[in-house]
Every structure is written in structure tokens, then in C-alpha cells.
């Protein structure tokens, strides 16, 4: 059977949780807007729909705890959007927390674990008070005859509803069946079904929606009641047009929405795109069925399983390898002897690269998803720590691979916490040293030379090097009397187990600090460095690959082995003269280049490679720069050429190897190892120390 649909319930669950994550993020973002006061009524509706959708799916999978909490939150939101409860800052805050707890329930459901029975109880109690408080105030109103219908809804009107679900609607747990049942409950409903989109049975995806409907509803309940039925599926609706077309034209001219219609206009209509994301549908005369194609309102995006994209990425990777292989095979031919072949290969190379970039772009996402948590975090923490902090963000639309984004969430949170907790001073301390009371944290992202750089900069007190050094000595991380540069001292905060927080605070955590941050970042091929100036502030710079799949590399030969050096690390290559290469006691071999001393690392010695060139003046030295900015010279036999390589993990079948970041497959089908320049530098230093 086709790949994209098994009977596996887990697939639907996966889709649901994926969607929950989006909905939770959207709700959070929207609530934040409301908190800032820049939101609108529609924003409250949007949050309401998010919570409702989460609840709906949870019901389908019987996540009862989740349903129960979502229900209360939803009810509270309903009170807010109806204006029964005012949206005070306190309420907005409560909604933020409510959304957080909802997220906890979602994640617990996803992990299949149970939360403590009283989880979120305080929030729940407050929400209940909100709802309950309202109920008591409503009671007097309810005391009036409840049977009296609202004044506006006494006359039956006829509505035409054209409804076409988005293809994915069924998957999200929304069934048109339930909506039509509700509609039928409103009045007299007749339906015409459009079956034309039904595919052949063999082509059918059973969870996809193929039917669409034209309904005529005669009801006295009014337009809002209809809107409510469709409101919950707004996000899953490709097209919904509700028109009021009363044959008895009695309301023409009277109806509020009838304004402005000319003499030649057909009976007044109102088109009503429920889906907020869909472009507004142009007004159509009543009774006009939507055009057969009905594509005016089109979903601009589709949901694709990440596995499918990864398969595509892998296939493109294989294609890149094949293309490299062909290029290598044809290297003996010249344009003169085989013009078409050479031209064809060039085009192939061009198209392959373009294809690859485009495929990678599918996985790319703006870092906004990552940054959007920061404002909350800063607000919450600055309150907790009694600090005044302004958050400035830039480059939110910089795109990076989805996996990188996912892996970065925790480290970034930690670094922001760290900046707030240890970096930024209290307002009093700041004013005492002549700084503005309000501190600033700058969170920025940018693309530079094939990598993405994310920085977290604060204008706080900077790293206290004395304290760091004292702590490092105490922990035995450095030896007494060892000479360290400021940069080296700063980098000590990334050492395992290192934490300078005098006392464990619940903000920055318990000593599982920076080393974990660094590890997380390294896991996705990234590096983190810190630059700090006492009294002025600190800056953490994360440098990450744009994608985890491909990179430009330089193929080098050492003995019988070939390695790939990431092009981004390479500064230059040269064959040193005897004057340039010196051997110094305690430092090892050193190169003098334009007055600068650079440590020489013989790759053959670090890796134990036989038959390699050991004399720097006979081999080649590639000057490489680590993300930390240190330069070292790698001694290799020769450079074999530049090429794009597909990154393959070593640890999927083996384990990490020090000094090697990954592997790749060369044009001849052999495996070559990709060098990890920063790790090599450390290994070189260790090897030297051991001598």
C-alpha cells in the first residue's frame, strides 16, 4: 500500500502533536500580542480556536486530562472574547500560564506519561474562578425568562453555505459529519454534495477530504450561530462561503449588512471567509455557486511528513555523489575533444546544486520559531529577579534547518537565562556604575559564510575572570601557575561541571550549565564562543551549519588517507620555508607567517598515519581557523581539490571519533572522514602537553 497512509494510529497522533506544537506556539505569540496591547478581538478568537483545536484532537485520541484542562481554558477564553470578562494584564498573564500548562498536558500525552495529579492546579483554580465568578454575575440575568429569544433572531432566514474542507481536515479530528449535524440542529437543512473530487479507490487517501457541500439552511438562529459551527474548522477549511439569500427579500435595505448595494445589485449578500489565513473571498451574488474549480481560496502550504523530506534530502545527496563521480571519470576529457559531454556535465553540476539548495530550503525555517520564546522568558525572569531588562531581537527571519532549530531551543533558553541571572545587574548596581537602570539583551541571527550565527549579547557586568579562575582551580580544571589568556579563562565556563553561581538559583539551574549548552550545540555541528569585557557585558556567539546534510570541503591527502576539511575553516594554504618553520621547546612546531606565530599540528602524528610527509617544508600547511578565532596550521601531504560533500553520520552505526565530525562518500565510492578543526586543535594541544 502507499507509504503515506498506514492504518497506524500513531501517524495520526504524530500529525496531531505536530499541529499542537504549532497551535501552542501560535497561541503564545498571539497572547503576547494581546499583552503588549497590540492585539485585536480577532486575536482572542484565534487563541480560542487554537485551544479548541487542541481539545478537539485530544478528544479523538481520548487524552482525557488534556481535554479537561483545555475545556476550562477554552471556556475562560470564550468569556474573554465575548467581553464577559475584561482582558486585564492579569488575565493575559493567566492565559499565558494556562497555555503553558496546556503545553505540559500535550507533551505528557505525547510522551505517554502522566503529569502529577495536581499539575497546573493553581492555574486551573484561577481559570475556574474566572468562569465561576462570571456565572454568579450572570445569574440575575438568567432569572429573566430564559425562553425569550434574542430580539434579532426571531425571523427565519435562508442561508446558502458553500463548504469545502481542506484536504487535511479529517486528519485533525474534525469531521464534517458533526458540523452538519449541528447545522441541521439550527433549522431546516438541505444539502447538495459535490462528489466530483472523489478519486478512484486505489488513488484515494482515506484520511483526505474529497467531498464538498452546498447547503441551504432556513433558520431563525441568525448568522452567528452558523459562523460558530464553522469557526472551529476555520483552519481546516479550504473554502467556506456563507451568504444570506432570503427569497422573501423583506430585509433588503433594512439589514445592517445591506448597506451600499446599488439598484442593479442582486439581493444583499455577505461573504465571510472564516479562515483568517485565507485571502478574503470577493463578494459573490447570492445563490451563485462557487466556480467549479473553486480554487480562489487556496491553501498556500501543505503539511509534509519530515521523513519524506529526509528521503528526498538523502536522494539528492546520492545524486551529488554520483555527479561528483561522473565529473571525476570525465576529468580526462577536454572541451575540445568532447564538447557536449563537458557541457552536459557542467549543466548537471549546476542543476544538481540548485536542486540541492532547493531541497534544503524545504527543511529551513526562520529562527523566529526559536526567538519567539525569548520575550516571555525575559519578562518572567526579570520579574523574578527584580531586574529591568529590555530585549532587542534582530534577524528573526534568518532561516536554518529545522533540526538545528529544534536542537537549539534548550541552549538558547539557557544562555538567555544566564545573561539575565549572571550578566545583567540589578537596577541599583547598574545605576551605581553609571549604566542605565534598564539592561539590554540583544538576541540576533545572521547568515555569514555558509553558517548561521546566533548571538546573545548583554550589557551586564561581564564575566568575573577572577572568580572563574578561582573556581577552575578549586575544581582542578586548571593548574596553579598555569598562564591563561582572558579568552581561555572565559571559555572555562563551558568546562563540564563548572558553575559560578555562588548559590544555586532556580533561574540558572544546578551546575548542569554551560557544558550542556556547548554539547547540545556541538551535536548539531555548531560551536559556541564567549567574548566578555568586565563591566561592559558578554556576548555568546553560536555558529551553526545551515544544514546538516551538505558542505563545501577541501579534500586533503595524508599518507594513504584522504580527509575533508570544511572550506569554512580554511584561511590559506602554503608550503613553509625552512625559516618559517621552527621547532620550539614546550610549544612544538611553530610557523611564522607575516610576523604571526601559528602552531603547527601534524595531522599524521595526531591520527597516527603512516607514510605521511613529516617535514613541513616538503608538505603543505593549511591554515585553519576555528570558530573561536584561533588559527592553527595543519600539516598535510597535498591538497586534492575542492568539492561539495554529503555529510554522513559516523555514529549511526559506530560512535563518534575524536577529531572527526562526520564522514562522506567520495566520487570513487570510498569513505572519507571530515575533520573537526576545533577538536583537532585540542588534541594537538593535549598531545603536546603529554610529551
Amino acid at each position: 500500500m502507499s507509504d503515506d497512509q498506514g492504518y497506524d494510529l500513531s501517524q495520526f497522533k504524530a500529525t496531531y502533536f505536530e499541529e499542537c506544537a504549532e497551535l501552542l506556539a501560535m497561541a503564545e505569540e498571539t497572547i503576547a500580542r494581546l499583552q503588549e496591547g497590540s492585539g485585536s478581538d480577532e486575536d482572542l478568537n484565534a487563541v480560542f480556536r487554537c485551544v479548541h483545536s487542541i481539545k478537539g484532537g485530544a478528544g479523538a485520541f481520548a487524552f482525557d486530562d488534556l481535554v479537561n484542562f483545555a475545556h476550562v481554558l477554552e471556556t475562560a477564553l470564550d468569556h474573554l472574547r465575548s467581553g464577559r470578562v475584561a482582558l486585564t494584564p492579569h488575565m493575559a498573564d493567566l492565559m499565558v500560564r494556562g497555555n503553558d500548562v496546556l503545553g505540559d498536558f500535550v507533551r505528557a500525552a505525547q510522551a505517554g506519561t502522566a503529569l502529577p495529579p495536581n499539575h497546573g492546579a493553581d492555574i486551573l483554580a484561577q481559570l475556574n474562578t474566572l468562569i465561576g465568578g462570571e456565572q454568579t454575575t450572570l445569574k440575575p440575568v438568567l432569572a429573566t425568562p430564559p425562553t425569550a429569544p434574542p430580539a434579532s433572531a426571531e425571523a427565519a432566514k435562508t442561508f446558502h453555505i458553500s463548504f469545502r474542507p481542506a484536504p487535511d481536515m479529517l486528519r485533525t479530528g474534525n469531521d464534517p459529519l458533526l458540523m452538519f449535524r449541528e447545522l441541521a440542529g439550527l433549522g431546516d437543512l438541505s444539502l447538495v454534495v459535490d462528489r466530483s473530487a472523489l478519486p478512484q479507490l486505489t488513488e484515494m487517501e482515506s484520511s483526505r477530504s474529497y467531498l464538498s457541500w452546498n447547503a441551504t439552511l432556513v433558520t431563525s438562529k441568525g448568522r452567528n450561530a452558523i459562523d460558530e459551527v464553522f469557526e472551529f474548522v476555520a483552519g481546516d477549511t479550504a473554502e467556506i462561503i456563507i451568504t444570506e439569500g432570503d427569497a422573501a427579500a423583506a430585509f433588503v435595505g433594512e439589514a445592517e449588512e445591506g448597506e451600499g448595494w446599488g439598484l442593479f445589485a442582486p439581493p444583499p449578500v455577505e461573504t465571510h471567509p472564516v479562515a483568517p489565513s485565507a485571502p478574503a473571498q470577493a463578494a459573490k451574488p447570492a445563490g451563485t455557486a462557487p466556480a467549479a474549480g473553486g480554487d480562489a481560496v487556496h491553501t498556500a502550504s501543505i503539511r509534509v511528513d519530515l521523513d519524506k523530506i529526509d528521503r528526498l534530502v538523502n536522494m539528492v545527496g546520492e545524486l551529488v555523489i554520483t555527479q561528483a563521480m561522473l565529473g571525476q571519470q570525465a576529468s580526462g576529457f577536454t572541451v575540445e575533444s568532447h564538447p557536449e559531454l563537458i557541457q552536459g556535465l557542467q549543466e548537471l553540476s549546476h542543476h544538481t546544486r540548485e536542486l540541492q539548495e532547493n531541497v534544503m530550503a524545504i527543511r529551513a525555517q526562520p529562527v523566529k520559531a526559536l526567538f519567539s520564546k525569548a520575550p516571555r522568558l525575559v519578562r518572567d525572569l526579570s520579574g523574578k529577579l527584580s531586574k529591568q531588562v529590555r530585549l532587542v531581537m534582530s534577524g528573526e527571519n534568518t532561516e536554518v534547518d529545522k533540526t538545528v532549530i529544534e536542537q537549539l531551543s534548550d541552549p538558547l533558553t539557557h544562555l538567555i537565562r544566564n545573561a539575565l541571572d549572571h550578566g545583567i545587574e540589578t537596577p541599583e548596581e547598574r545605576m551605581a556604575v553609571g549604566k542605565p537602570a534598564e539592561g539590554t539583551i540583544h538576541l540576533g541571527a545572521e547568515h555569514r559564510s555558509g553558517r548561521i550565527f546566533i548571538q546573545i549579547q548583554d550589557d551586564g557586568r561581564g564575566i568575573n575572570r577572577e572568580r572563574v579562575l578561582a573556581k577552575a582551580l578549586e575544581k582542578g580544571l586548571v593548574e596553579r601557575g598555569q598562564q591563561l589568556t582572558d579568552e581561555q579563562i572565559d571559555m572555562l565556563i563551558f568546562a563540564p561541571g563548572f558553575s559560578t553561581a555562588a548559590e544555586v538559583s532556580d533561574v540558572s539551574g544546578r551546575g548542569v550549565g554551560m557544558d550542556v549548552v556547548r554539547k547540545n550545540i556541538q551535536d548539531v555541528g555548531g560551536r559556541v564562543v564567549v567574548q566578555s569585557t568586565p563591566g561592559v557585558g558578554s556576548r555568546f556567539i553560536l555558529s551553526l551549519p545551515l544544514t546538516l546534510a551538505v558542505m563545501d570541503g577541501m579534500l586533503v591527502q595524508v599518507g594513504g588517507q584522504r580527509y575533508v576539511l570544511p572550506l569554512t575553516n580554511i584561511v590559506e594554504s602554503l608550503r613553509p620555508t625552512a625559516q618559517q618553520a621552527r621547532s620550539l621547546v614546550d610549544v612544538g612546531e611553530v610557523l611564522t607567517i607575516r610576523g604571526e606565530y601559528i602552531n603547527l599540528m601534524p595531522l599524521h602524528a595526531i591520527f597516527g598515519i603512516e607514510n605521511a610527509i613529516t617535514d613541513p617544508t616538503k608538505g603543505l600547511v593549511v591554515i585553519v581557523e576555528t570558530e573561536g578565532g584561533e588559527r592553527v596550521g595543519l600539516l598535510v601531504d597535498e591538497l586534492l581539490g575542492q568539492q561539495q560533500v554529503v555529510i554522513k553520520s559516523l555514529d549511526s552505526n559506530f560512535r563518534p571519533v575524536q577529531g572527526i565530525s562526520a564522514a562522506t562518500i567520495l566520487g570513487d565510492g570510498r569513505v572519507a572522514l571530515i575533520l573537526d578543526v576545533s577538536a583537532l586543535r585540542q588534541m594537538g594541544a593535549l598531545a603536546l602537553a603529554a610529551q
Binding site: 552505526n653 559506530f654 563518534p656 571519533v657 570510498r670 569513505v671 572522514l673
Partner: protein, 163 residues
Amino acid sequence: MQNAAPAPEVQTGGTRQFISFTIGDEEYGVDIMAIREIKGWTASTELPNTPQYMRGVINLRGAIVPIFDLRSRFSGGLTQASARHVIIVVSVHDRVIGILVDAVADIITVSAADIQPVPELDHHDHSGFLTGLVTVDGRMVALLDLHQLFDIELVADAITAAA
């Protein structure tokens, strides 16, 4: 891959199939369910600073697969690998690894009852990696426990690498 874990205790009374192969004069057997494919030796890429029996990695249709030299693992002494040598590709848990052996000998079917326990006084230091012994046509075949052999390996190495 899901069949990688042999469960002899469950299969008592039934028969099991093994691929047997030779290293020098010795014959070993690996559960046929764990075997992904058998291929001739191809030159591997050495991994720096790994034990001698770790013969590097090869490209197996796009996957990077580590190759272990079983001779070297057991008794020391590198296999002088040539085109006549064989890589048996097996899956151990979620990993795909290759083991370098001299030659594939046979497919043997043995009933669980015929599998003898490994005598304690076995002179090799690798008795922990054997699940049992069987006699086939007068030859002794030692049945390997790949999990013991390589899982411990990978985990232990990973720990030292991380330290």
C-alpha cells in the same frame, strides 16, 4: 532488523539457522536472522585512534558501516584482507556493522537441543561472546553472540571517547 535479537530460550525445541564462516581453522556461526548481506572485502577507510580490530568504515549503498576484524578481535593478529575475504554485514540492535572473516562456510540448521553450552575452561578469552557450540558433520561450530561482542564494544568505546 527487528529480527536481530536471537532468543534461544523462546525457541527451545525448534530449529535455528546459522551462517557459519571460518577464521583460520576455526568455524563460527551467526544467527541467520541477524545477517543483512554478505559481500567481498572492499578497501576501508581507517578511523584514527581506534583499536586495531576496528578496520575502518566502508560505504554500503550510502551508509557508513564500520568493519570489525574478528580474527584480530579474538586472538590478535590482523587479517591480511584480500578480495577473497568476506564481510558479513549484520545488524546488532539498530546498528549495521560488518565483520571481516576469512570465508563463508555453510548454512547450518541445528535444533536447539543440539546446542551445547560453552565449557568454562575454554582457552580463549572470548568465551563470553559465545552462546554455544554445535557439531556439524564432525566440525565444531562456535555460535557467536553478536550483541555481547559488539554492543559492549560500542558502548565501552563511546564512554572512553567521551571522557
